[in-house]
Structures are given as structure tokens and as C-alpha cells.
Amino acid sequence: MDITTLGGNILGTIPLGDIVIYLTPFHLFMFVVVLIFTALIAMSRTETQVEAEFGTLKESKVSVGLSEFKTRRFLAIVCGLATAGAMITGDLFNITLFIALIGIVNVGIVSAVKQVDVLDAAYQYGIIAMISSLPLFGGAAMILAATGTLSLFVLSGIAATPMMIFGAILLLIGIAGETGIAPFFATKAEMFRTPGSPFILIIHLSSLMVIIRAIEVLLIIVT
């Protein structure tokens, strides 16, 4: 499909050799939204979880220490920036790299917690993220082999071949695994029991935004 059909009028291109960044209202909107969310999350403070204790009327509070808070805030900002980068980039391999970075950082955000359950989930999600780097990078490499370019601007003008479609399917599997959406969500679900809420939100937000962008990219490649 044409770029203008998917994203609106092209506002301009930034040619950097082989990498051509192009701007449409769609990309700019997503980019700005992610940046605003990142700024909000960077400014916010963590919640304190209150858990009811079993068998008594008492409750226990789970709060986040200062050093852990700082690390987690930093990783959340990195995650937000990587998501913003994935929104605006015009290069197929850069998108895969940004998505892989989001996967690593998501594991990093919850890695410092003390709950064994959360660490279990982070481990499972990390394994899935690592396995799905095969279809993710493999799909991008296959599209490169089929067309000789990774620039989405050029790819939109090339008619789809069976190899490109196969590459796009691999790419979809890779993105689904790396962001932990539907078929793989069970690995990731327990991660949200981590205390320190606003930083956990970026895990949701990044996978949501990346999927929207990924659908646009796949439509550009396939149609």
C-alpha cells in the first residue's frame, strides 16, 4: 500500500545515504504521544503496594528503594525513547533493533525486584524474546535479500514477491514474541505484579505502540 494511504501526506524526507527517514502526520503523532508519556513517567513517583496478609487483619506495604527507583526510572526512559525511535524511523532494520531494545529493557525494568514469581516471569519472557530474535532479524534479512534495500520509502514502491511475504510473516512472529503480545502474553503476565507502577506502564505502552507501527510497516511491505 502507498505510504500516503497509510500515514497521510508526506511532510518531508531526511535522506541519510541509504537510510531515508520520511515524516507523515501518523508518525509524528505517535512519536509525540510516546515522548509525552515518557516525560510523564520520568516525572512521576512510584506507588506503594499494599498487600492484605492471609489470616490476620494486618497489611504489608511493598515500596521501592531509592537506588532501585533510579535504575528503574532510567530503564523506563530508555524504553520510552526506544519506542519513540521505532515510531519515527524509516529503516526496517532500525525498527527491529528498536524492538529488540524494548525487549531487553522490559526485562531490565523488572529484574531488580525481590519476588521470585516476577523473576520467573521475567526469565520466561526473556527466553521468548531471545528466541523470537531469530524470526525478527531473519525476516528483516530475508526482505533485504529479496529487495536489496531496507528503506521503507523504497520498499513501498516494490511489488511484493513470495519471499518478501514470507519475510514479513517472520517479522510479525518476531515482533509478537519480542513485545510479548497475544500468543506469548502468558510468559509476561506475572511481570505486572512488580511494585512501582508507573514504570511498569511503559511495558504495556511500548508493546501497544510498537504493534500499531508494525502493522503499518508490514502493510507497506506486503501490499
Binding site: M130, I131, S133, M142
Partner: protein, 233 residues
Amino acid sequence: MVLIPEVVPTITASLYLPAVYLAMIVGFLGLTGIAIQKKDIHILILTDLVGLAMLIMVAAVGTDLAEALVLPGLVVELAEIMAISEILISREMRKIENAEPIDRVIARKHSVFPFPLKLDMEIMTTAPNFIALVMILYGAFLTGFTGGAVAGGGILFYIFSRKARGLPVIVIDGIGAISGFSWCLWIIGFVLFFIAPQYWLLLLFMAACGLFLKVASKLGLIGAMMREEYKKE
């Protein structure tokens, strides 16, 4: 549409499909292994096999662009395996902390346990200064990624052997900052390369030296991190 230039021999061009099939077979074998294995540490190691299949798939394209893509793929793979193994270690330590008293724990096996390293080899008392110096000089001569790896290996060996002998190592807290700044040098060199190609020699050296410093200091950082393992003893 023919994308392969004529200078490429046919046999090289025809290797693409076998390489992709090979990558898929390797990936499939890795996934089968992961499905069969029960211990977490074995699963983690087998996951690396799947990552290798990914590298084969990217490298099969065989152009210079693909070569530029192998490196980030490798880095992502390494970063992920390091992050996950760190999680595995901290999880096992939590499990040990929360475990029942010692007499009841004996029957339970942990799949991984961080233990302090103990090494007593002669090469660590006689050679480190000389070998480290030679490796750093040779690495500086090579520059780029290879040079960084060689020089970093020298630094790593030096710190490692001093630490194994129990000697104090000057704590270089800023070594991460060196890595970060030289990485910026590399990136700036790359960006300017696109904007002002007429200064290509200067920018090439900027990128090469930045990459050299980055890789060397990063490997040195691994050596500095290794101290923490000794302290645990």
C-alpha cells in the same frame, strides 16, 4: 530483477538458499532442545543456539549491508543472554535466601549457583604485564572493532590475573564513562560521514578510534565487574 552484481561468482550467489535452510534447521533443533530440557540453565544455553541461527540467517545475505547488520544482531543477542542470566542468578539467590533451614534443603537441587572463582596458574603470576602491554599496543595499532577486542582482552587478562593473586586493582569507576564517550565519538563520526563525505578520512579515524576505545573499555568493564564475584568469597 537481478540484484547480484556480475563480479560475484555463481557458486557464492547459490549459497544463499542452503544457508537459510541451515539456519532454519539449526533454529528448529535449538527449539526442540529447549522443549525437551527441564533445567533453566540448559534452556538458556540452548537459546543461544537459536540466536546463532539468527546470525546465520543475517550473514547469509552476504552484502556489506548485511555485514553491518550482523554486529548489532550479535550485540543484541549478547545483551539479552547477559540480562537473562543475571535474572536467573538473582532468582536462584532469592530462592536460597527464602529456603527452609539447611537440614531440609539438601534434597533440593538448584539449577545454577553463583560461586567464587579460584584459580592458581603460573601464567597469572609471570606474564600479565607483558602480555597485557603487547595486546594493548597491538590493539591500538589495529584500531576498530578487532583492535578493541584485542586490547580489551589484554586489559581483561591483566585485571583477572591480578585479582586472582589477591593484589589490589585500581578501581576505575569512570571506565563506563570512557566507553560511553567513545561510543558518542563513533556515532558522531558516522553521522558526519553522511553529512560531509569529503572529510571521510578524518571521520573514518574518528569512528575507528571511538570503536576501539569503546570495545576495549567495555571488555575492561567486564574485568572490573568480575571483582564483585571475588568479594563474595
